[in-house]
């Protein structure tokens, strides 16, 4: 049975880009461990011969023709942007 310790919570939080306060750590650890306990009921059934089902109707993709249908709406889209300059979205300096 899985129970998540603080290091694992931190690892998941970083993958998900969430900052978890020290004070909330125990709560997340408890909640996530309980959720995993719930979902581990899945192990009661052997599914080795069952194919995964990603989509209920198992339909095939319908594709679109290669046509340009969108026009420039930069101003409208950037009206709700937190930080822009010269049409660019700004973020703190990215170091490669």
């Amino acid at each position: 049975m899985s129970s998540l310790d603080k290091a694992e919570i931190q690892k998941i939080a970083w993958l998900a880009r969430l900052a978890i306060d020290e004070g909330d750590m125990a709560g997340y650890s408890r909640d996530l461990s309980n959720i995993l306990k719930l979902v581990e009921q899945m192990n009661s059934i052997d599914t080795t011969t069952v194919d995964p089902l990603a989509h209920p109707l198992e339909l095939n993709a319908r594709m679109r023709p290669d046509q340009v249908t969108e026009s420039n709406q930069r101003e409208k889209f950037q009206a709700c942007a937190p930080a822009i300059k010269d049409g660019l979205y700004l973020v703190p300096k990215v170091i490669d």
Binding site: A16, I20, D31, L32, V50, L53, L57
Partner: protein
């Protein structure tokens, strides 16, 4: 005026006995008056509504009107509305003015409906009680100390209290049906792919489906007729034309084969609810339906499977909320990592973060097969259970929720108990089937909902059965006290 059904309102508008402006003003007044207590709406769009009502009246005068022209509606705040804040119940999108309309919104606007406002909801549709909203909980009109259900709680409460004739909602694991049941109204989750998801903010893409929360099955049918049908902007939308869902409402249900899953009537179901459902089924039997017991053997696994798949998809769907292009951005980010982590931690609420964390975990290296893939395999078994059942019956009937509306705060610290409230609804989303919840009685003054599930694209049949039941009973006409 607020007790009329859509059919009645449509007739009144077309015969010019009332105008859309009068109707809109009436519902806006009620919405403003009662919203202080119920907290159904996140945003009321009074000015826009009146402008739309005026053009609806013009269309009604000039004869260019359809059956829905001039009738007010409220949209769950998960549907993008061009030029109007679309918050999804989250601080993350508190400042987000959507730059485009969801297909559902566009189609209903095209049909001439008048938008009253955007309804409250659990943040990103994650919740079963509407207590996870950044804008505070919605209160149940039948007992304001209780939850309305969730996540479409604002829509359900607004329809129940007659603050809008009808509303839209979305259903990922029961989010239309469960609040409909708890608020004593009719809620339909269509077949996956029946209603376009374009512009409907994603929670779990393979499970999400939009649909109506209405007073009656006939009203739900009218709305579904207007929104259903193929949308080239949604790859998962069914390449199948919509139908006139009102056409088959009056069909006789004699000979209807009803299956009762034995797994739905076990010890977890409150005895009073069990009795009410049994009574309702008997009513249908008297109208000529044939009832048999069926088995859905993997029912007990649907909650575990759902709470792997839904969080997995949500963890990825919600990665776009990063404080870069729209939405909440933290103050003075130190660097890129700080921008991401703080914007997301401050922008999302507790339950959303819990699910993102769960989903991230089940997809991460070393756990994918044991959790995610395992859940996808079981998803097939759960769907196959329904396939088997539908070879012998036309519809499956059971309770919508194991309990009536619970008290505000009662389960807020216990996610597992909250999740288990979805036991009867989540398997339907996993299988992608359509289901409707209708009011069938009361326990201690609180409404009880009955869920009718059908095979793929059998919405007409479900609405027919629900409508026939509503012709024989008046549960759907009951109204909570204090909203006259």
């Amino acid at each position: 005026m607020h007790n009329h059904t859509l059919t009645e309102l449509s007739a009144l508008l077309r015969s010019r006995q009332i105008s859309s402006v009068e109707l809109t003003e009436h519902f806006l007044r009620r919405s403003e008056k009662y919203n202080a207590n119920l907290n159904c709406y996140i945003t009321l769009t009074a000015d826009m509504a009146l402008a739309q009502a005026r053009s609806a009246d013009a269309a009604l005068r000039q004869g260019g009107a359809g059956p829905l022209t001039g009738i007010p509606i409220a949209h769950k705040d998960i549907f993008c509305t061009d030029g109007i804040r679309t918050s999804c119940g989250s601080r993350m999108l508190d400042n987000f003015i959507a730059p485009y309309d969801a297909t559902v919104v566009a189609r209903l606007q095209q049909a001439g409906m008048v938008l009253l406002g955007k309804t409250n909801m659990d943040e990103y549709a994650m919740g079963s009680s509407n207590e996870n909203s950044y804008y505070g909980p919605v209160r149940n009109p039948w007992d304001q100390q209780r939850v309305p259900g969730g996540s479409s709680g604002g829509s359900a409460a607004a329809v129940a209290a007659r603050l809008t004739p009808i509303a839209t909602g979305t259903d990922t694991g029961g989010s239309i049906r469960q609040p409909a049941a708890m608020c004593g109204i009719t809620g339909l989750k269509p077949t996956y792919g029946r209603v376009s998801r374009y512009g409907m903010i994603a929670f779990a893409s393979s499970l999400d489906q939009g649909g109506p929360l209405a007073r009656t099955a006939a009203d739900a049918a009218m709305l579904l007729t207007a929104v259903a049908g193929f949308d080239p902007r949604d790859s998962t939308s069914a390449d199948q034309a919509g139908e006139d869902y009102s056409a088959a409402l009056t069909r006789d249900i004699s000979g209807l084969r009803i299956g009762i899953p034995k797994q739905y009537f076990d010890a977890n179901l409150a005895a009073e609810i069990k009795e009410i459902i049994t009574t309702a089924v008997r009513q249908l039997e008297r109208a000529g339906a044939r009832v048999s017991e069926i088995s859905l053997p993997n029912t007990h696994l649907s909650v575990p499977v759902y709470y792997v798949i839904a969080p997995a998809e949500c963890s990825s769907n919600l990665a776009r909320y990063d404080g870069v292009r729209f939405g909440y951005r933290c103050d003075q980010p130190q660097d890129l990592a700080d921008l991401y982590c703080r914007s997301r931690s401050e922008g999302f609420g507790r339950e959303v973060k819990r699910r993102i964390m769960t989903g991230t975990y089940v997809l991460s290296a070393g756990y994918y097969d044991a959790y995610y893939l395992k859940a996808q395999r079981l998803r097939r078994l759960i769907r196959d259970d329904f396939h088997t059942a539908f070879s012998n019956v036309d519809v499956i009937i059971g309770p919508t929720s194991p309990t009536t509306a619970f008290r505000l705060g009662e389960k807020v610290d216990d996610p597992i108990s909250m999740y288990l409230n979805d036991i009867y609804t989540v398997s339907i989303n996993l299988a992608g089937l359509p289901a409707i919840s209708i009011p069938v009685g009361f326990v201690n003054g609180l409404p009880v909902g009955m869920q009718i599930t059908g095979n793929y694209f059998s919405e007409s049949r479900l609405l027919n059965v629900a409508h026939q039941y509503q012709q024989m009973t008046d549960w759907h006409k009951r109204m909570p006290a204090g909203f006259n």
